[in-house]
Amino acid sequence: MRNKDCIALILAGGQGSRLGVLTKKVAKPAVNFGGKYRIIDFPLSNCTNSNIDTVGVLTQYQPLELNSYIGSGQPWDLDRSFGGVYLLPPYMKSETGIWYKGTANAIYQNMDFIQMFNPKNVLILSGDHIYKMNYAKMLDFHNENNADATISCIKVPWDQADRFGIMETDKSMRISNFFEKPKNPVSNMASMGVYIFKWEVLKNYLIKDEADLSSSNDFGKNIIPTMLHDGQKMFAYKFKGYWKDVGTIYSLWEANMELLHKKPAMNLFDKGWRIYSKNAIQPPHYTAQGAIIKDSMITEGSVIYGKVKNSIISSGVKIGKNSIVEDSVLFPSVVIEENCVIKKAIIGERSVVMDNSKIGVEDAIEGQVPSKMCSDGIVLIGSDLIVESGSNIAKNVMVE
């Protein structure tokens, strides 16, 4: 029987309801990012670049687009004969089947899958963070410490620490305490939701946790505190670099805008650590005679006649004459007709903004209710919508 040293499992089942209309029809990891990527490209590419060639993607909510996006895994070189990428929805055993109850239960339900590869370690990832990370280095750290579990952590601003799992460690980085979303954080070392476990050890805890009917079957709330309580060797691995949870409209917009910095913390041009994505099969983009483009990223298939400033333009986008797009993120195949003004907007796939429209220009307009999910003036337009000629959409509005 062949073994794998380490396989990865990506938790991609979450609905991502704070992303509003963007996750109406797709799972959160399938949300577009940075012009030609989807969020899940980041953990998948990290795996490939870290020489981890076996990845299970645990899906549950609206997986169709994610499934057809991932396909055989070829764009990430994950179409391997023994290993590669597997999509793992819940399934029925004997007469019964249950949906994934929590992060730990999702892994529990796929123990047979993991056992196929008989791995020494499993790497647990979540499908909703933008970052570049060499998991191989974390695995080395894990092995050097002969750890039962290693949790990757990053320093967060103190005032945000109560939104994370917070760790206390000794000098050797062994974890002495773990607090899930503490009201009064004792440290600002936050868990990134990236774990490596010895599979033999984790397996037992998953079985115990499943048997415990009071458990919410969650890594942060149940598995990790229990293991720590039992005195298992658990270490914190310090990650330095860009790491961003893009779970809200604002953070998604902000992460896109950060790509436009002169020297962005998330460098997509690094040939030593490419982010792979499924190709859109589009020609080069075309910039017309009258177009003005500054501080922006533009990708294949776009055709620009208007003015684009500080924006992310995805594949196949058309921007008509005399239109202005600023501080915005246009998803694939969006069409902006002529004489429009678009400010601080995220516009979903294939939506069309007809001519003479204004989006995100006015502070408030009668009859338009600002969305709770939008903040800081961001306008969110869903997929496959048509914004009629001469429309005017105020800041903080979400259009479904």
Binding site: K36, Q74, L268, I281, P284, Y286, K294, M297, T299, V308
Partner: protein, 374 residues
């Protein structure tokens, strides 16, 4: 069109692309910001439902092999059929190109015999086009033709440059071919052959065997011309845009024509998509002082200078103050600050240093070799 296989000649025997084809076959010459010449005819075949394509290569085909890889991007990484590169047989190494098309096709005999399809779509690689052969194929089968030659109507007659190596055909009202003739100034027909053929496979095999035995030379046009009395040959008028690359000049013109909206919108999208090797570059980044006009830009570029009427390939860097116009800048080249390029073609990985100025003319393009530092 599951019943047709494809054959593409990797070389144009008349490829005069100077240093662009010094170390690569014509099929592998980069074009239109992110493609290689062969992508167009190969995608046309795939979009017509052909799933079994053999490519006849001669020399210098390492870059072509590298480009095509497993055939994945054309959906030709198939267990049944798929993409086959046909290198020269060792027994053919002594032959020279002067032996003509049949000698080149001899390398494909085995492929032809083992493939289950009954028809062959045969083309050279040097056509920039987006064609669908379904209609021509149906007409071929329906007309009981042995060979169908795709042609285009020249309006007005004989107005394209570089006609001297081209063949013209005459057809009757049913499009049956009555004459195939090399171009001459007194040409009576405006139907110019595209050198794309639909041929019954059994006949092609016979022709190759027969031609080898008798050492018959010449191009397929000449060979068909000699047999015009004995076989049913049909013409088929292709109405889409087709550019033929057989010189630096036609190469440059084809690139520039793609800047035109009406050509671009058809060439890349209709009737099918054009596939090419994926490079996983980030979207291109326009910096603060970028000024770009009427240009095609691939992914992975960082642009801080001026670009006008130009074709920019993947991974190109254009620094502040640099000015590029009417030029073609291939993959991973770098144009440093305040350099000026007009009517220039940079091959891959060229570096143009600060303040350098290179100026060509439309009639005399400056061509810089791969990897050069100027």
């Amino acid at each position: 069109m599951k019943d047709a296989l494809g054959i593409i000649f990797g070389e144009g025997s008349d490829a005069g692309l100077g240093s662009l084809t010094a170390k690569r076959s014509l099929a592998a010459v980069p074009i239109a910001s992110r493609y290689r010449i062969i992508d167009f005819i190969l995608s046309s075949m795939v979009n017509s439902g052909i799933t079994n394509v053999g490519i006849i290569t001669q020399k210098n085909y390492k870059s072509l092999m590298d480009h095509l890889g497993t055939g994945k991007e054309w959906d030709l990484n198939r267990k049944i059929g798929g993409l086959l590169l046909m290198p020269p047989y060792s027994s053919r190494e002594t032959m020279s190109n002067e032996n003509g098309d049949l000698a080149d096709l001899a390398g494909a005999l085995d492929f032809l015999e083992k493939s289950p399809q009954k028809y062959v779509v045969l083309s050279k690689s040097h056509l920039i086009c987006n064609l669908n052969f379904d209609d021509a194929f149906e007409k071929h089968v329906h007309a009981n033709a042995i060979v169908t030659i795709l042609y285009q109507n020249l309006e007005p007659k004989g107005e394209i440059s570089g006609l001297k190596n081209r063949f013209f055909i005459k057809t009757d009202e049913d499009d049956r071919i009555s004459q195939i003739k090399a171009y001459s100034s007194t040409n009576e027909s405006n139907k110019i052959s595209l050198d794309i053929y639909i041929i019954n496979k059994e006949f092609l095999i016979y022709l190759i065997r027969d031609g080898l035995a008798s050492a018959e030379k010449g191009s397929l046009s000449e060979i068909f011309s000699r047999r015009i009395e004995h076989m049913r040959m049909m013409g088929y008028a292709a109405k889409d845009f087709v550019a033929r690359i057989d010189s630096i000049k036609t190469f440059y013109q084809a690139n520039m024509m793609i800047l035109k909206k009406e050509i671009r919108e058809k060439l890349f999208f209709k009737p099918g998509l054009i596939y090419t090797k994926v490079k996983d570059e980030a979207p291109s980044k326009y910096m603060e002082s970028a000024v770009v006009r009427n240009s095609l830009i691939a992914d992975g570029c960082v642009i801080n200078g001026h670009v006008e009427n130009s074709i920019i390939f993947r991974g190109v860097r254009i620094e502040k103050g640099a000015r590029i116009s009417n030029s073609i800048i291939m993959q991973n080249s770098e144009v440093q600050e305040n350099a000026i390029l007009e009517h220039v073609i940079l091959d891959k990985e060229v570096i143009i240093r600060q303040d350098i100025r290179l100026t060509g003319q439309e009639s005399y393009l400056v061509l810089i070799n791969k990897g050069a530092i100027v």
